[in-house]
Structure formats: structure tokens, C-alpha cells
């Protein structure tokens, strides 16, 4: 593989996709999509949920076959029939969904399909495999043990493994489909420095993301898609974010959330005292008031998800007390939690949020089946469908019908279905774990508005988020965690990026800030 040894100023075209069409049953995912990538360029691909970004890249990766269209690689027309072929052509993709083998180790995952062999060709050489993985991590500045099983990693670390794997191919083209969705700012910064290195080497990089503020940091050009169509390609530095957004959604939206109203209520609806769980949680205490949005900030692995799962009864905890509306409660299962009025929207929608093989309305009804029963336990289809329709409208879920299986929805729309499920359960306390992960700007602002409305209606909301601007904008108060401890609780007025980061990195000591 020889790449022109030039910097990002090289204008030679590495990849061109033209007139790409692709349909799925009931959906025209792509119609006349176009894309161009140059050597040594970071090219952002943006669009609303379901715009067809992932589909276009899966065609490039040999996973889907296009109905019509043409792909040119370094000027040559190519047909890509299989993932293997794409690899051989120097195309490496980090998919939106994690694609790892949880039972295998990190090193085994990275080198799957091209294991270093020993002298006898059918024998594997695990030593070399691990060694090479370690070298790779050193290069990428990652703290990973190659022999750890992937199932023992958090989502964020799994994402890092995916990235490491993709980089290990030494590809000409690296496609990253929302690689940053599961990462915190520090990790994103590390990833970007790796990307910059690759750009220097002339690799063409496709970067799909809904975090538009990233575009300016990393990308050279940006292509906007809408409804499966190519809209425009802009020089990132020259294009204001608002222009990109309006191209994406085809209308003007208010990117910033409406002003957060002051929370008048002082009624504590949820109180957690001295929650301990193994090494993961240490003495976690906080309270949540009616009508309040309580942000949870922290670095990856700070234990925020653990807190949520413990409160929700999804995982057992060792000690601690939980009070709902002043009453001590013993929540032993998610069922108990729901009946106590606690809902939890998990951070990994595919694994924990959705019955992928079931349809939109069924998923929406899942957490509140009792509401959809007629006599003797029969399901009332009319009401189920009506509620599904309501949610599709309210959350603007892009789906051909209520009967579409959710596995066929785009990632962002799947997330909205999960939100719909918990709105339907209508619990007084809602824990949103990374609610806007993988969601486009339009939908994001809809969700912000929704959170506001819910708070306004008197619901109490915990919002776990790794996006600091979001936490700052959306929270009445912010709980900051580090290494399983609450290191600080900040009022909206005191919360800044700097103050949060200070507490988020306060390792090994407990300092209680003003509440």
C-alpha cells in the first residue's frame, strides 16, 4: 500500500461513490447518494437519524449490495461483494453497532480473521497476537490488557477496542460510524490525536457523528445527507454550524434548548443514602426534587450507570438506603422499581433497551403493559396502536409503520422508541442514561424540550450524560462522580466545564461541595 506522502492539502480523490440507490422492504434508504473522499482528509458525514449514513458506508464495506450506483477507488471502478473484499481493498469500518465477540479476548478480537500463525500454518501464535496488540495499544496510548475478555469491558472500552481493531488494518480508508457516541471528552481527544496522525499519513477518514461541535475540531469537509439523498458538501471551517443544521433538517431549528425554568419545588422525591456496591460504588448519597433535572457528570467508568442500575433494581447493591417520597423502599427488581415509580432508560439500547424482533408499538407498550389490558388480560390493540402512534408523532420517530420491527430502524430512531417506552410507563422518577447518544440535532433538541416539559409537569429526572455542554445546559444541579464516589454536587449557577472537570478527576478523595 503506497499512499502519496502528502498532507491534507493533497486534492487527489481517493474514493468516489455516485448515484447510489438502496431500498429495504418498505424503505428507500438511499436515492442518488453521493460521496467523495480525498487522501489525507477527514470528511464528516452528517444527517438526521435515518438519513442513510450508515447504509451508505455499509455498502462501501461490502455488507449491503446497492441496487444501483458506482464506486470508484483511486479512480478505478470497483465492486465490493464482501467484507473481506473491502478489507483487501484497504477499507476499514468501525460500525455504529459494536461488532465484537464478547467471549474472546481483546487481542483475539483485534486479529480475528488474520491471526498471527506459528511455523505450522494452522496453529495460532497467541504470544505474537498479544504482543502485536500491546504494540498497537502503545501506539494509540490505550490502557488495555490484550488478554482481557471483551465481555468484561464497559461500552466505552469496547468502543476503544473497535477503534484499535480498525486502525490495525493500516487501511487507506477508515470509516468511523459514530465512534465518539460512547466516549467522554478525554477519550475523544485521544481519538482525535490518532486521527490527526493518520491524516498526516494520507489516510482518508470518514467521520459520522451527531456531535456537531466535533466537526470543527477534526474535519476538513462535511457532506450533508437528508432522506437518503446527497444535499451538499462544504468546507467545514467556512460553514457555520447553523447552516449545516438547516441543510440536515431542511428547516430552521432552535439548536439551543429553551431556557431552563427555575425549579420552585423543594419536595424531595428520591433520596439515596450511603449506597455501596463492591468496588464500584462507595457511599453514594444524593437527593432529587420534584420538577428537577439532576445531571450526572463524570468520566468513563465513574460509576454513574452503576448508581442508576442499583436504584432501578437491575443490579443488587451491598448496603445503603433509598427513599422514594420519604418512604424507605426495597427495590429488588426492575419490576419493583417501576411500581415505585422509577423508570430507567439504559445507555445501551440494543442490549438493554429494546426487543429488537418486536415492532415499534409493542416496544413502546412494553414497560406499561398493564395500561393496555382489557378484561382478563387480553391486550387492547387499539390502545396500543394509538399510544404507539402518539409517540411516533411526539418524538418524530422515522418508521414506515407501527408494525416495523425496531431492528430495522436507524440507531437514533431506536433510541426514540426507548424514550417512548418510558414516557408511556409514565413514572414519576425517570433516569435517563445517555439519552441523546447517537441522536441527531433535531431529535436532540426535541429530547431537551421533552425533558423540560417533563420536569415542568413535576417529574423528577436524573440525566446521566458524558457531554458536558448538555449537562450544563440541561441541569438544575449537577452531581459529579469519580471512581464510584460522589465528589461534588453543583448548582446550575456554579457549574462550569472547569468546575465539573475538577471534581470529575478528584481521585481518591471525597470533597463535598455546596449543595
Amino acid at each position: 500500500m503506497t499512499l502519496p506522502n502528502t498532507s491534507s492539502e493533497n486534492h487527489e480523490v481517493l474514493l468516489r461513490m455516485e448515484g447510489v440507490y438502496k431500498s429495504f422492504p418498505g424503505v428507500q434508504a438511499l436515492s442518488d447518494a453521493r460521496f467523495e473522499l480525498r487522501y489525507g482528509e477527514v470528511h464528516a458525514l452528517v444527517g438526521e437519524n435515518g438519513a442513510g449514513k450508515s447504509t451508505l458506508m455499509k455498502i462501501l464495506g461490502g455488507i449491503y449490495h446497492m441496487d444501483a450506483g458506482q464506486v470508484y477507488l483511486e479512480g478505478r471502478a470497483v465492486e465490493i461483494h464482501s467484507p473481506r473484499m473491502a478489507q483487501d481493498l484497504g477499507i476499514s469500518i468501525i460500525h455504529q453497532e459494536l461488532n465484537l465477540m464478547p467471549h474472546l479476548t481483546i487481542a483475539q478480537n483485534i486479529f480475528i480473521g488474520r491471526e498471527p500463525r506459528s511455523k505450522i500454518s494452522f496453529l495460532m501464535d497467541d504470544k505474537t497476537t498479544n504482543q502485536q496488540a500491546e504494540n498497537l495499544f502503545k501506539l494509540l496510548n490505550l490502557q488495555l490488557d490484550p488478554t482481557t475478555k471483551v465481555s468484561d469491558l464497559t461500552v466505552a472500552k469496547q468502543q476503544m477496542v473497535e477503534i484499535a481493531k480498525a486502525l490495525s488494518y493500516n487501511a487507506k480508508i477508515l470509516v468511523m460510524d459514530e465512534p465518539t457516541a460512547a466516549l467522554t471528552d478525554t477519550e475523544i481527544e485521544e481519538l482525535f490525536s490518532v486521527i490527526r496522525q493518520l491524516r498526516e499519513k494520507g489516510v482518508g477518514i470518514v467521520h459520522i457523528s451527531h456531535r456537531l461541535e466535533e466537526l470543527k475540531q477534526i474535519s476538513d469537509r462535511v457532506t450533508v445527507m437528508r432522506d437518503g439523498k446527497y444535499i451538499d458538501t462544504l468546507q467545514t471551517q467556512a460553514a457555520p454550524i447553523n447552516q449545516i443544521i438547516s441543510l440536515m433538517v431542511g428547516r430552521i431549528i432552535y439548536e439551543s434548548a429553551p431556557e431552563l425554568p427555575e425549579n420552585p419545588s423543594q419536595e424531595v422525591v428520591l433520596e439515596v443514602r450511603n449506597l455501596n456496591s463492591g468496588k464500584l460504588l462507595k457511599d453514594v448519597s444524593f437527593s432529587l426534587k420534584r420538577g428537577e433535572i439532576l445531571g450526572f457528570a463524570g468520566l468513563m467508568g465513574a460509576g454513574r450507570t452503576e448508581v442508576a442500575r442499583a436504584i432501578f433494581g437491575a443490579d443488587p447493591y451491598d448496603s445503603g438506603e433509598i427513599y422514594v417520597k420519604g418512604q424507605r423502599v426495597h427495590i429488588k427488581s426492575p419490576g419493583d422499581a417501576v411500581s415505585q415509580g422509577v423508570g430507567y432508560l439504559s445507555e445501551d439500547r440494543k442490549r438493554y433497551g429494546l426487543a429488537l424482533g418486536m415492532d415499534v408499538k409493542e416496544n413502546v407498550a412494553m414497560a406499561a403493559m398493564k395500561k393496555f389490558l382489557s378484561w382478563l388480560g387480553w391486550v387492547d390493540f387499539k390502545r396500543t396502536a394509538a399510544r404507539g402512534q402518539e409517540m411516533v408523532k411526539a418524538l418524530n420517530i422515522k418508521t414506515p409503520s407501527l408494525e416495523q420491527k425496531v431492528k430495522f430502524l436507524s440507531g437514533g430512531n431506536q433510541q426514540k422508541v426507548v424514550v417512548g417506552k418510558w414516557l408511556t410507563a409514565d413514572t414519576d422518577i425517570l433516569i435517563f442514561d445517555e439519552p441523546t447518544r447517537g441522536i441527531d440535532v433535531g431529535a436532540k433538541s426535541e429530547i431537551y424540550k421533552l425533558l423540560n416539559d417533563l420536569a415542568h409537569q413535576g417529574k423528577a429526572i436524573i440525566m446521566i450524560s458524558s457531554e458536558l455542554p448538555e449537562v450544563l445546559r440541561m441541569s438544575h444541579r449537577v452531581v459529579v462522580m469519580c471512581e464510584g464516589r460522589v465528589t461534588g454536587v453543583l448548582n446550575a449557577s456554579e457549574a462550569t466545564q472547569e468546575s465539573i472537570m475538577k471534581f470529575a478527576t478528584m481521585r481518591g478523595s471525597v470533597v463535598q461541595a455546596s449543595a
Partner: protein
């Protein structure tokens, strides 16, 4: 109006197509055999096929639920025997009234199912092992309880009438279709209702689709899973009573290997072993494919060893055609 369209859609989504496919396989088989043998296409033989489907069909109904949850039940065959033996004990040995005896037998089956469900959902034993254990246990218990002897229903001719009499024949003389056939269809309708219209059915699919997500939706997964296995045992119980009525006796040594036929019916009917999808109509058609095939080959006097070879081939073919269709 809108919801009607939706119901129609629900019925005729891809699943429906798939059943259609299995259905065409059934039709093709039937036509083939009808052309090949005049004896195949008689009314009596048709009734014979219906009757031969009854026991396996009822078993397969319950298995459908279990398989949709991505589970498996290997014990249905021996649980069937267990129910039959207990029905015999209740009616013949204890002289209980027939309805009570039947109820007792069906409850025994449900109880076995409940134990399966508890082992699986609360003690987290993999379904394959829990029900394999139950297979051995009920096989042994049937022999123990019956003292290794068949139990006859000679004192209670009404019991035999239950499955083998023909209410239809009394209404329309000449159409002597045994009640067992209607019991099968009745059970299928109930099963279909439970699967498509009740919460249990909804959770059956949800469990098979994503058990963890179902749990995190606040659903009491253990309880519902137990319910599914109990239901499977319930249908096995009905199968046992049917079998006892048909044979006018409870045969304690019967039932080994029945589970494979039941599972085959379910899978041929388009229910996926990886869970999350399936239908009762498909299962019934699957059961008919198996019994039509068996009957047709017998009618043609194909040597039994070749019957096996052909059955194997056709089972694979039926599923392959279905897969081809789905891939399109």
C-alpha cells in the same frame, strides 16, 4: 377502521407469508400423494391423518410458546405419558369422576411444566438440561406410579368416547370425524388467542426477543417464563389425556422421542429456534406436514427405511424453501 387494517397487517405480515409457504408445501404433498394413490384421497384416510396429528399437534402447541422464548422443552413426550398415567390412576384406580380425572391429568402435566419453568427461570438451569432431567424423571415416575403396567379405562367407556367418539358424526351422519380432531383445533384456537392477544403472549415474544431488555422494562421475567413452561406442560397434559382416550389405556412406556416430532412441527411451521418469532398456525401446518408425509409414504407402502430417508429429505426441503422465500 385504522386498527382493523393494523390487525390485518399483523396477521399478514411476513410471518403469514411463511405460513403460506409451509401451507403450500402441505398442499403439494397432499396433491402428490393423491395422484400417486387412490387410497390416499379417501375421506377415511383424511380423517386418519387428522387423528394422527392430534397428539403431536397438541404437544407442538405448547412447544411453540417455549421455542418463541428461545427455550426448549425436551420433556413434553414423557410429561404426556405422565399425565396419561395419572389420569388412569385417578379414573380407574381411584374411581374419580371422569372430568375430575382429566383435570387431574392435565394439572399433573402443568405441574411438571411449572417445575421446568421454576428450574429454568429461578434456578437458572439451562432449558435443555432442566427439561432433559424432567424427561428422565417423568419417564421413571410414570413407570413407578403405574407399577409398570398399562392402566385400562375399561370401566369408563365414556372416557374413550371423549376423544374417539364423534359429535360431528351425530350431527351430520357420515362425517364421523372423531372429537380428538376438534380438541386439537380447539386447543390451537386457544393457543393462538393466548399467543397473539394476551399479555402472556406478548411477553413470550419479548422474552425470546431480548430477555434482558424485558427485565429492564420492569417485567417479572421469572414469573412469566414459568408461566410459559407451565402452559407447555398444560398442553402436554391435554396430549396425554387425548392419547389415553385414544388408546383406552395409559401406557407408561410410551412417549420417548415424541419431543423431536413436536419440535420439528414447530420449526417446520416457521418458528425460529433463536426465539422472538413464531405462530400457532405455522405449528399446526408443520404438524400436518409431518403426519401427511408419514401417512402418504405408508399408504404407498414405501419400505420403512426409505420412509426415513425421504422424511429427512423433505423436512430439510420444506424449511429450505421457506428460507429461500424469506431471503428474497
Amino acid at each position: 377502521m385504522k386498527s382493523e387494517t393494523k390487525t390485518a397487517q399483523t396477521l399478514f405480515r411476513s410471518d403469514a407469508m411463511q405460513r403460506l409457504m409451509a401451507f403450500s408445501a402441505l398442499i403439494v404433498l397432499s396433491i402428490g400423494f393423491s395422484v400417486a394413490s387412490p387410497y390416499f384421497r379417501t375421506f377415511d384416510n383424511f380423517v386418519g391423518i387428522l387423528l394422527a396429528t392430534a397428539v403431536n399437534g397438541v404437544l407442538a402447541l405448547g412447544v411453540t410458546f417455549v421455542i418463541i422464548t428461545a427455550g426448549i422443552d425436551l420433556s413434553v413426550g414423557t410429561v404426556l405419558t405422565f399425565s396419561a398415567v395419572l389420569t388412569g390412576v385417578f379414573i380407574t384406580n381411584w374411581h374419580l369422576p371422569i372430568p375430575l380425572g382429566i383435570l387431574g391429568g392435565v394439572l399433573a402435566g402443568s405441574l411438571a411444566g411449572f417445575v421446568n419453568g421454576t428450574l429454568i427461570s429461578r434456578m437458572k438451569i439451562p432449558p435443555f438440561i432442566a427439561t432433559l432431567g424432567m424427561l428422565y424423571a417423568t419417564k421413571g415416575l410414570s413407570l413407578v406410579i403405574s407399577e409398570l403396567k398399562p392402566i385400562y379405562f375399561n370401566d369408563t367407556p365414556a372416557f374413550r368416547e371423549m376423544a374417539m367418539g364423534s359429535i360431528l358424526g351425530k350431527i351430520i351422519p357420515g362425517f364421523e370425524v372423531p372429537n380428538a380432531v376438534f380438541i386439537l383445533f380447539g386447543a390451537a384456537i386457544i393457543a393462538n388467542f393466548i399467543l397473539t392477544r394476551t399479555v402472556l403472549g406478548r411477553y413470550t415474544f419479548a422474552l425470546g426477543s431480548n430477555e434482558e431488555a424485558t427485565r429492564l422494562s420492569g417485567v417479572n421475567v421469572a414469573a412469566w417464563k414459568t408461566a410459559v413452561y407451565t402452559l407447555c406442560g398444560f398442553f402436554a397434559g391435554i396430549g396425554g389425556v387425548l392419547m389415553a382416550s385414544r388408546l383406552n389405556s395409559a401406557q407408561p412406556a410410551l412417549g420417548a422421542g415424541y419431543e423431536l416430532d413436536a419440535i420439528a412441527a414447530v420449526v417446520i411451521g416457521g418458528t425460529s429456534l433463536s426465539g422472538g418469532e413464531g405462530s400457532i398456525l405455522g405449528t399446526i401446518i408443520g404438524a400436518f406436514i409431518i403426519s401427511t408425509l408419514t401417512n402418504g409414504l405408508r399408504i404407498l407402502s414405501v419400505p420403512q427405511e426409505w420412509q426415513m430417508v425421504v422424511t429427512g429429505g423433505i423436512v430439510i426441503l420444506a424449511v429450505f424453501l421457506d428460507i429461500l422465500r424469506r431471503r428474497r
